[in-house]
Amino acid sequence: MSHRTFVWICLLPLVVVTIAFFLLPIAQLVVVGATGPRGLSAYLAILTEPRYRATMINTVVLAAATTIATLVIATIAGLFLQRHRFPGRAVLIAMLTFPLAFPGVVVGFLIILLAGRQGLIGAISNAVSGEKIVFAYSIFGLFLGYLYFSIPRVILTIMAAVQKLDVGLEEAARSLGASPWAVQRDVVLPALGPAFVASGAIAFATAMGAFGTAFTLATNIDVLPMLIYTEFTLAANFSISAALSIGLGVIAWAILALARSFSGGAVAAAG
């Protein structure tokens, strides 16, 4: 057997599995989306139908808010952890990164324990002011859940980027008389740009498409994945749910591809 043949044999199973369980199904999804009662215009429904458009805007705003908040939090914490050595630092890093692979459903439950009807925040606010604060089952709960989900991932990326920064540049800026804030603003933050884009895109795409957290918190939170789910299972509206999920997939993919072409690294969402 020649080397060439062997290489093809190595590749063949992957090609078969990918075609059978990914490419064919996605093609079928595209076809179903286009052959409902609305025809091809189902693909525009996400923009033209007011109800779907409102959900779409909701989802994008939520994802953008999650991304910005996560980046701010992770940058402050990541810079701090990478720039200082103190006792307990390793434990702190472990605490900030261990929820990395918690599934969305579990994150949803943790948010319920924090801000749900029997939650910690409600208990504390009840003891302090006599009023029980409960917001787990709303879009704020979902925002908190996505923060929980994204912070570990983004902190890791930012810490790795800070480690690669050239400390000489900061020293040069300081020796030229720049204030600490000016050094952060003009030297450190711009140098972290690619890391912001890469990790921000992951946070954004994840918050757009994640389903488990929203599902655990409440089925009536108005975001795109929940809309697709209810259209498919409750309304049995196959063509619209197919078209909407194609739209969602294209948006998530485009954000990640854009970020990758900008930052040059491998970028992937997780759910």
Binding site: M1, H3, F6, V7, C10, L11, P13, L14, V17, T18, F21, F22, L23, P25, I26, Q28, L29, I76, A77, F80, L81, H84, F86, L92, F98, P99, A101, F102, P103, V105, V106, G108, F109, I111, L113, L114, Q118, L120, L147, Y148, A205, G209, A210, F211, G212, F215, T216, P225, F232, F238, S245, I246, L248, G249, A252, W253, A257, A266, A268, G271
Partner: protein
């Protein structure tokens, strides 16, 4: 003095973030072993909820392990040779294939699940068996295995090793077994940990693909969150943590090791 204040401010902030991540986990662990969460830990510590979860959901937990192991076997058998082929072939086609198998990382699981349902929903016996969930998990985890192995190949000049063995007259299969796989081991192990961890926790796809007879651990979790008392839901989460945290720790150790090399 000012530096000290900035340091303390940042430390305080970072501790707050850590508390946000850790406190809910502690709440969940303690609720799982508390007699009555509403009355607090004073009501006593018990394992009755853990036992109850085991009685109710042992089947789900067992099926999750079966699917995770099966996903691992398929991604190993299919993914490792493919990573080798993609690396030595190089060229445009290989890049396109790599790009395509990486798409499931960008496309939400919900969309992939709908696609599988709309395509294979009519194949009754396949749709009803756990193999249907396996198909979804394989598609979702494959890129992690392939890329993790390819990353190792990129760092150790596998082509020279391969050609050296070939010039000594070793057959392609023998080279693959005795040269390629041993050298790819760090990537295979890291990829395997990732695949098992992801498969055990996968919900987005699985929730759509499962049937009443093919429920996995996370599907059971969602079920418990929706319909069981808080203590039972917490005990179930506790069991999940006990299973998943060692895998996460091992993965983190691997990543640290990789950084040192």
């Amino acid at each position: 003095m000012r530096d000290r204040l900035i340091f303390l401010g940042q430390l305080g902030f970072t501790l707050l973030v850590a508390a946000f991540l850790v406190v809910p986990v502690i709440l969940s662990l303690s609720a799982g072993v508390t007699v009555n969460y509403f009355r607090g830990i004073q009501s006593g510590i018990t394992l009755q909820w853990v036992r109850q979860v085991w009685e109710l959901y042992a089947g789900e937990i067992f099926l999750s392990f079966v699917i995770a192991i099966a996903t691992l076997v398929v991604t190993l058998v299919v993914g490792v040779p493919a990573a080798y082929a993609l690396h030595v072939r190089g060229g445009k086609l290989s890049r396109v294939i790599e790009e395509i198998i990486t798409l499931p990382l960008a496309i939400p699981g919900l969309a992939i699940a709908l696609a599988l349902l709309l395509t294979y929903g009519g194949f009754g016996s396949f749709r009803r068996s756990w193999l249907f969930i396996l198909a979804g998990h394989v598609i979702f985890t494959m890129p992690f295995m392939v890329r993790s192995v390819m990353a190792v190949f990129a760092s150790i000049d596998i082509k020279t090793l391969d050609e050296g063995a070939a010039s000594l007259g070793a057959s392609p299969w023998r080279r693959f077994r005795n040269v390629i796989v041993p050298n790819a081991m760090p990537g295979i192990l890291a990829g395997s940990l990732m695949v098992v961890t992801l498969s055990l926790g996968e919900f987005n796809l699985t929730w759509m693909l499962h049937t009443p007879l093919t429920k996995t651990l996370p599907v059971g979790l969602a079920d418990a969150y929706a319909s069981m008392r808080l203590e039972v839901a917490s005990a179930y989460t506790l069991i999940f943590f006990v299973m998943i945290v060692p895998l996460l720790v091992a993965m983190q150790m691997f990543a640290d090791e990789g950084q040192k090399r």
